[in-house]
Symmetry: C2
Subunit: 184 residues, 2 copies
DNA sequence: TGCATCATGTAATCAGTTACATGATTTT
DNA sequence: AAAATCATGTAACTGATTACATGATGCA
């Protein structure tokens, strides 16, 4: 299970509450791993019980208290152990592709709207990634040796950008194909 | 749940047994949806109980009997219904990206082998897809209007090819980054 | 007054994986 | 003699989603 490891990475980058983690999973970490708050809370409790995380109750004024989690030495060791194990390539779950092949048994034209909708979603996501790249990874780099954390975050973001660009090009291919089949 | 729909599509393309489906999920359908035989058998039973599939016991000589499944009218209607519902873009689960960001808290060099391994896996998969494309989608097309099923299968395969090419390019980017961080 | 944000959780259910189990035939 | 292929399944478990629940503050 990689949610646990994604949480370790995120909390090493910056300690925080379950709520904050859930928001990060909607933003940067969500570029390559998704999770809902329910699941995050459950995993956080377990990880704390397992000694991989420390909790600190943080009272706040004008807001409910929060539990700030940080990674213990045991947590860091667990992450290191996982990093040294080989993982298998992620299995693909591409629901839209199921639909496209399914359209052969229905009306291909009915899918055009849906594919256009996905195209917009991916275009938005790409714009969002590109804005993040400009914000976080341009400008003069600090003198001295390169910051590994920064470089690695950037290469992962470039992966997200490449993925969205590929998706957009493919969705355009799909649209052209659907149009060809509809009005030849 | 799209496994059910992936099974409907696959059985509409060609009726078959659970075993045969499992093999297709390792090949063509596996390009965009994965499933193990255990899960397939379970879902097949449920779908048959729900009246979406018909079963026919096929005795075979020199082999165990098999159950050949085919899609009922109700099954076809269920697929059509799903095709007309909007779906949300697939959520990403990119374990390798978690590892790459995690490498900032460990030794980035230790990841090089792992990334190279993934590169080989994707190169193999790409070669496999390209061979399939030559086998199934080249040569003179039949006269008359284009075959929708064929065109749609092809565009999905092109998606798989585009994905693998993008992955390969990105993994090369990752490797270059790791080398830069390791021996600057 | 109503909605959004911050903050945490439980309960029920569904989906997916891993391990185990059986048994014949064909190939090496 | 051993391994691979064909063929089907059960059981236990883990992971993930959906729905429900609570309650304060701040903004329009």
């Amino acid at each position: 299970m990689a949610l646990e490891h994604a949480i370790l990475v995120s909390l090493l980058e910056q300690p925080g509450s379950g709520y904050e983690l859930a928001r990060r999973f909607e933003r940067s970490i969500g570029y390559f791993w998704t999770a809902t708050h329910q699941q995050i809370y459950r995993v956080l409790s377990r990880m704390e019980a397992d000694g991989r995380l420390d909790v600190r109750e943080v009272p706040q004024r004008a807001r409910p208290d929060k539990k700030e989690y940080s990674v213990t030495e045991a947590g860091r060791a667990a992450l290191a152990g996982w990093l040294h194990e080989p993982i298998q390539s992620d299995s693909v779950r591409h629901e839209l592709a199921v639909k496209i092949r399914g359209a052969a048994f229905d009306d291909p034209a009915a899918l055009i709207r849906e594919v256009e909708r996905h195209h917009r979603t991916h275009a938005d996501r790409l714009a969002h990634y590109l804005a993040g790249e400009v914000r976080d990874f341009t400008g003069p780099q600090a003198p001295g040796p390169p910051d590994a954390g920064q470089e690695l975050q950037h290469v992962v973001l470039r992966g997200g950008i490449a993925y969205e660009r590929m998706q957009l090009a493919w969705l355009e291919d799909v649209l052209a194909t659907l149009h060809r089949l509809t009005a030849p």
